[in-house]
Amino acid sequence: MIARGFKPVAWVAAIGVAALSCYMLSLRVASERAELANLDQRIIAARQAIRSLQTELGTRGRLQQLEQWNADVLALSAPVAGQFVESNVSLARFDTRGPDFGDQQAEVRLASIEAGQAATARAASPAAPRLVLAAARSEQVAKPNRVQPTIQRASLATADRPVAATRAPVGRTAIASVPAVVRQPAAQRPAATRPTVALRNAAAPARSPSLLNDDVLRDLRAEARAERSGGTRN
């Protein structure tokens, strides 16, 4: 009986709650919309700012201004034919560095590995041609180096020997023995006089591939492609 009496009240309350929640929902939507519109406006303002800043930057950095700066300060000039590298071979021509002390260390390690492999696999015959070849090529490589300042080479030679004498015993004894073995049949030279030279030269050709390995070439190609695609034709 009491429940029936309260029925309209419950109805009113239910409808009130429903209406209120609907209103809240709509209010929520409206506020979201207002926020969105506000954001849109801010985006537009930002775009306008970007545009005006781009214009300002473009005007301040206009080509005539750059040209003037170049004339006054930078003094850059257009690249000439010799500065473009056509192929791997022409790129390798630029590798005219004289070997320095850092290279020496790295080469020693490399050669010792090869010597180790050669020693474990077979004593003389397979290792021999490889190292002979390396030695023979090293002569060719060494020739262009003669253009380099001779002082540098002289200092290297002097720096080399004490190092070899003092701190080589672990790795070097093994290495020094390899050229000694190899050279006797191949070149008939007194190996004992120039073991370090032979070693240094033996590793020299190995440096060329590292200079021009696939990663380097791939990077160069990717850069060239990027430059070309960003160039004038599109």
């Binding site: 919309r33 519109a37 849109d40 406006q41 537009i44 775009r47 306008q48 005006s52 781009q54 214009t55 473009g58 005007t59 206009r62 080509l63 005539q64 750059l66 040209e67 257009a78 690249p79 000439v80 034919a81 010799g82 473009f84 056509e86 070309r228 160039g231 004038t232 034709r233 599109n234």
Partner: protein, 573 residues
């Protein structure tokens, strides 16, 4: 119970009361309708606002990003013309309440370009509104605002800005006070730039701003160095007809076009018609090869004695005194031999040759600032002969550039265009030379740069080929002035697969110590071409290569025994 009582009361009502009740009902109904009407009105209004106001707001939000006039960019998207909002400062003279003299003095201190008296006159003018300054910087606006004069008002107005200032001013043109294009591409593209549907999209021209900047700087440096009246330069894509750069010196700043002199506003590349001299010879030779007049590279033409025709006498500056091949003709730039070939061609075929490359009509380009060439009225024997080496017929430098593009690109002539051409969308053009003739011309043009008058146009590694042309300018009194020249060098590179024509023309250069007082094309125009090619070649994707070149031995073989001229300057024309 209550209802019963009411019924009882209603029953006892009299006639007057009955009437009053009806009236009340009517009034109540009226009030009800009024309320209902107002409510409906409010609901309808709300629904209307809900439905339509949102879209209106969105449209207003999108608008600010679309400029009132579309941007113009170069082929790579670098802005060449933009519309920005700039501050303008105006005054309502009737509403000024401060002391006008003091105000004028303050304005003069802030903006010294006008005198205090001028500002005084502006402030007491009888108009309702006048501008004090347009395109004012914010600092100036702030400073004037602090004066606190209510008669002075500030507003943001759209204004056309050319961020690269004088760059490509002749191509871009400028807009008037109301923002309408009145010259250059601004005028040509007027409809497109203000079309509501399209103005959000920038218009891309064929120009490359980097190439344009290099060409302009080299050209103006040479114009200054040689104290020339002016000069012009064109870089043209031979395969599409796109104008990659077009410069005319002296230049002007389109941001303030009104302050420039008439000479600066004059676009020499399309408005100036000149007798371009020996640069015409390759056109004559190519036409003669296609016509069968020149049959082989070994055929020899008499250049031993001057040709007399009517009262004219055609001579070479440095006579060779023997019979020469066409390759020698071009290398030494012999007028005599060219005149003989033109004579053998005859008036009909010579006219056809020039018509084929459009020398009889205004240059094909979008710009409206262009002039009709001076086409000879009477094609007598003398005209035919002199036209063969570029005298008696005057065309614009752009005509010549288009013709050279056809000479080297395999023989297809295409109209020049300033709009960017998408790959594969180039105009079909028309064949004017055979592919074989074009190949021979490439070899001979390269030979001119290797061994002839064009040696100063060489850019190492770029395989440049081209032809010099030094014509005497017609003086104001009529007749030619030997000392005043129009010096042209028309070149293309790289000659093994030509991609761009570069043409430079110097108008009345004067000799300097560096040129040993000479004003010929070899000393004035060719070095500019060389420098421009060295600078822009890598930008345009042409990599210099000293180990590559076109094989010129086929055309050189017949002349290999003859000595090359000792100095390019000696072969003047």
């Amino acid at each position: 119970m209550a209802s019963l009582a009411a019924q009882n009361e209603r029953r006892v009502l009299h006639g007057d009361d009955q009437q009053g009740l009806t009236l009340t009902y009517h009034r109540l109904m009226l009030v009800l309708l009024l309320f209902a009407g107002v409510t409906t009105l409010i609901v309808v209004r709300l629904a209307y606002l809900q439905l339509f106001s949102d879209h209106e707001g969105a449209a207003q939000l999108a608008n600010p990003l679309i400029p009132p006039r579309a941007d113009i960019t170069d082929r790579n998207g670098v802005a060449l013309a933009r519309t920005i909002d700039s501050w303008s400062i105006g005054v309502h003279p009737q509403r000024v309440i401060g002391d006008r003299n003091l105000l004028a003095q303050r304005l003069h201190e802030l903006m010294p370009e006008r005198s205090a008296a001028d500002y005084r006159a502006l402030l007491s003018a009888q108009t309702s509104f006048t501008y004090i300054a347009r395109r004012a910087v914010p600092e100036l606006v702030e400073a004037i605002n602090t004066i606190g004069e209510p008669g002075i008002v500030f507003d943001r107005e759209p204004d056309r800005l050319y961020p690269q200032t004088a760059l490509a001013g002749h191509v871009l043109g400028w807009t008037d006070f109301d923002g309408r294009g009145v010259a250059g591409m601004e005028r040509v593209l007027e409809e497109r730039l203000v079309a509501p549907a399209l103005r959000g999209q920038p218009v891309a021209l064929s120009l490359d701003s980097r190439v344009q900047a290099a060409l302009e700087s080299e050209l103006s440096a040479q114009v200054t160095a040689t104290s020339a009246e002016g000069g012009t330069g064109i870089v043209l894509d031979v395969d599409t007809g796109e104008v990659v750069a077009m410069a005319s010196a002296p230049t002007f700043n389109p941001n303030a076009a009104g302050r420039s002199s008439a000479s600066a506003l004059y676009n020499r590349a399309t408005m100036g018609v000149y007798e371009l001299g020996s640069a015409f010879k390759p056109i004559t030779i190519a036409a003669a090869m296609d016509a069968g007049v020149v049959t082989s590279m070994t055929q020899r033409w008499d250049a031993s004695t001057p040709v007399a025709v009517g009262r004219h006498r055609i001579n070479d500056d440095h006579p060779l005194g023997r019979h020469i091949t066409v390759a020698e003709l071009l290398v030494h730039s012999s007028n005599i031999a060219t005149a003989r070939i033109a004579d053998a061609m005859g008036p009909a075929r010579m006219q056809a040759a020039f018509r084929a490359v459009g020398f009889h009509e205004p240059a094909h380009i979008e710009l409206r600032e262009r002039t009709r060439p001076l086409w000879p009225r009477d094609w007598g024997r003398a005209t035919v002969m002199t036209s063969g080496f570029g005298h008696g017929i005057a065309v614009t430098p752009l005509h010549l550039a288009s013709a050279y593009a056809a000479l080297v690109n395999g023989g297809i002539w295409r109209p020049a265009t300033l709009m960017r051409v998408e790959p594969g969308q180039a105009a079909a053009g028309r064949r004017v030379y055979s592919a074989q003739t074009s190949r021979r011309m490439r070899q001979m043009l390269r030979l001119i740069v290797q061994r002839g008058t064009g040696r100063r146009g060489e850019a190492p590694g770029f395989r440049v080929g081209g032809k010099t042309g030094t014509a005497e300018k017609v003086s104001a009194a009529g007749g030619y002035n030997r000392r005043v020249n129009v010096s042209t060098f028309a070149a293309a590179f790289p000659m093994d697969r030509p991609r761009y024509v570069v043409l430079v023309m110097m108008d009345a250069p004067r000799g300097t110590a560096e040129t040993f007082g000479l004003t010929t094309a070899a000393w004035t125009a060719a070095p500019v071409v060389s420098r421009v090619i060295s600078r822009v070649g890598p930008l345009l994707g042409v990599i210099p290569d000293a180990n590559r070149d076109i094989d010129t031995s086929e055309v050189m073989a017949p002349i290999v025994s003859s000595p090359a001229p000792a100095d390019p300057a000696t072969a003047a024309h």
